[in-house]
Subunit: 472 residues, 2 copies
């Protein structure tokens, strides 16, 4: 009980620009000097060269151990004609954990430069631990996951965050991971590829394309970061004032358009009205998708394909392995539109179903399309997809989980809604404050993974880590 909640200490760390590695320039020096080419080789291979991975008689792609994950089929009904697709089934709950520790009274995060086979740029900035259960239980007979011992049974008073959060509901079947932040006491060795960074440094890296990985972003979002009590003087522009008020407004009394209970009620209503149903089925029963020796892809080549890769590596738990990856066709877009009501910044949240989410519906970005083809059909696509530097608060391209997805890039944007978006949004949408989103992000089953990334970006705007409007 010596370490209380940590909210104030997190806000403090979000303001500290210099850490053990030095300034941001020195952080960048470390990052760019990391081995890239040569250390890892990822080669696309036909399915027959996937080693322990093979298709069952039902057409599912599985590992001989029964562990890791499998690619199966999914049928979705209830909203238009039934449709089917492949989906990744990974029932184990893994750990995504950031170890934090005070240096000179400031919390630092132990971040890892981690290779994943689907990464665009070989390594991305990752949590301290990113381990499936197979992984840290050593199903693959590799080396132990470094630092995992801090996350297995931490004393309760060392736990800053420990909450289950969902991942991509369009690509994963009911996947969820344990998002953890644990505080360490005493000496913690800094292993190769791991560095202590302040929260401000991590947030600054977040605004560079494809540096901070999805797992790090979701753990940061679960921290429910918000301005500290003493941060009022830092609100030095109208936008930052509106954002500070947004973080401090959880209810109508504070200037929010709706009470938090009404936001929960809106979410409940969308959930109850959702008529979707979904079930796993053998991959061989998926229609509109074709399997060749090289890939399984939708015939229109608009969604994604499943392919196999062979990896040769020197820095990971095992030195060589093969695995399937899911590769989307084209870049996705996820946008939070914002508007200021009564001096309080609000975000236009959507509540939308995705077939793989535990409870189907979660709170999502205003606009989110996984591929360019899907973009134009969404409500608010005009406002959300426009290039509008003067309305843009944040604009960055980030990668989704490189352990399962190949080059799955999403352009994340936060921008002012502009005049064409109505004050009274249609069903399925609700104006919410940063404080309300932050409150909900503490719990499971509310914000989907893209909304959580945008929530972290929003906090980066507050912490001064975001480049200014029109920077892109």
């Amino acid at each position: 009980m010596s370490h209380p909640g940590g909210e104030g200490r997190l806000a403090q760390s979000a303001a500290v620009r210099v850490g053990p590695l030095g300034t941001m320039e020195q952080v960048w020096d470390w990052w760019t000097a990391l081995p890239r080419r040569g250390a890892y080789e990822v080669e696309t291979v036909p399915f027959r060269r996937l080693g322990e991975w093979a298709f069952t008689s039902e057409g599912n792609l599985v590992h001989a151990s029964g562990g890791f994950f499998s690619v199966q089929g999914l049928r979705v009904t209830g909203d238009g004609p039934p449709r089917t697709q492949p989906i990744i089934n990974q029932p184990e709950v893994g750990i995504l954990g950031i170890l934090v520790k005070e240096f000179d009274g400031v919390l630092h995060c132990l971040m890892q430069a981690k290779f994943e086979p689907g990464n665009l740029d070989i390594r991305q900035l990752s949590p301290t631990v990113q381990a499936t259960r197979s992984n840290y239980m050593r199903v693959h007979n590799g080396r132990a996951t470094p630092y995992v011992e801090f996350f297995r049974s931490p004393p309760r008073d060392r736990v800053l965050v420990d909450v289950l959060q969902s991942e991509q509901g369009a690509w994963f079947w009911r996947k969820r991971n344990r998002n953890m932040v644990v505080e360490a006491d005493g000496d913690v060795p800094e292993r190769e590829g791991f560095r202590w960074l302040t929260l401000n440094q991590v947030l600054r890296l977040l605004y560079s394309d494809n540096v901070v990985n999805m797992d790090a972003r979701t753990v940061l979002a679960s921290l429910a970061l918000h301005p500290g009590r003493d941060d009022a003087p830092a609100a030095d522009s109208p936008l930052r004032q509106a954002l500070l008020r947004s973080y401090r407004s959880q209810d109508v009394e504070g200037g929010a358009v709706h009470t938090l209970r009404q936001v929960i009620g809106w979410f409940t209503d969308v959930k109850v009205r959702c008529a979707w149903d979904r079930a796993l089925l053998p991959l061989s029963q998926v229609t509109g998708w074709t399997r060749t020796e090289q890939e399984i892809a939708d015939d229109a080549r608009q969604e994604f394909r499943i392919l196999g890769v062979q990896v040769r590596a020197s820095g990971r738990e095992v030195r060589q392995w093969t695995q399937p990856l899911l590769a989307p066709f084209g870049q996705g877009t996820a946008v939070f539109l914002t508007r200021t009501f009564g001096g309080v910044l609000h975000v236009l949240a959507a509540a939308r179903p995705e077939p793989g989410l535990s409870d189907l519906v979660e709170i999502a970005p205003t606009v989110h399309c996984r591929t360019p083809a899907a973009a134009a059909a969404q409500p608010f696509a005009g406002a959300a997809l426009a290039e509008a530097p003067e309305r843009t608060h944040c604009d960055v391209v980030l990668s989704e989980e490189g352990g399962r997805f190949r080059h799955a890039l999403t352009r994340y944007r936060i921008l002012d809604a502009g005049p064409e978006v109505p004050d009274l949004p249609p069903d399925g949408y609700c104006w919410v404050t940063a404080g309300q989103l932050t409150e909900l992000a503490r719990h499971a089953n509310y914000l989907n993974i893209e909304a959580r990334t945008l929530l972290t970006c929003l906090y980066g705007m507050w912490a001064g880590a975001a480049p200014g409007p029109g920077a892109r």
Copy 2:
């Protein structure tokens, strides 16, 4: 947006002892004068006389319309040998709704004296609306559910609460209902059997055996009732002072033993460690249970039996019907043990799996046993089951859902833990404050139905509705 959150107004209503019906004495006059015998007749009948209800070839007990609910089988694995049991499957999300309205600036609840076939005493105090989807969509061709129009598409700013909550995970398969509180404007006719009561009056009725029904209790719990800002002077005894501090303590800074995040982390940990799995199966494959012409019961007659009833009524949507009910063997017990740490009352919460809960594990009473036989085996049974008037804060026998369960009584108790309970509880238990439980009760999937009843009882202690220690 004219009616903000309502927290203060709820606390105010919880202090007002006189409403439109008059004093509590007059409320009791109304209640006891309600027709009892004669108005409804409930007769146990063999399954063959259940009319539209029949067994399928798989042995499941279903309604010819495919609506309402069915009795199926359930298999639970993962913790000891697999076991099977019958379970009620009711996939529809119903509405449990209380309509509230201000009279002379005080919020009142429109409560209903409602008959249910499983009620011990014919009618119990129920929410304004208690309707399955079949019910309010009129699958059974009955009369419309009164007041349901207030809950179908209420304007967002009239919604005080709207959240999905679970029901008995041992008896229901993934059942959850929408718990709603909606505020009405303008004239609302008071139909026969419906009365406007202050929250204080409802809470006083709660402390009488078998008056306030389960559906009313869960809606009250979802209101996340807590003391208003001006209630400090009302803390006129050490216990009430400790309880007031408990409601005001959500984090370590406020005197809670753990931060709310650590409580969520404890809950996540129990969830992740739970090795249970469960699946529906045909009722004919359930073992250790025997079906006769009259009932389906476990062979030890320790759990429950499924039986059929024929109802003749004049005050319900249809005048005569038959249906199955689940009748437990003997009375259950649900106990919150409490202890004061640093002047702040804490409750010893348990996190336990129940096979029918959506996510298996929810926060439960310290001790909960559905039948007397199961009681002694639980941790803390000694402290929780003792007759200890000097340690007893609350002690009342309440009924579970009379629409599905027959005479399912639970003795709910809140009592001081006494010296034998350790300050450091074992795995699966955690000391939490009333403020933390209240905060979690605003969301789905945290508190199970018995914990929510006890949370309402706890608030009744605060509101002065509970009889004093040793009153029973």
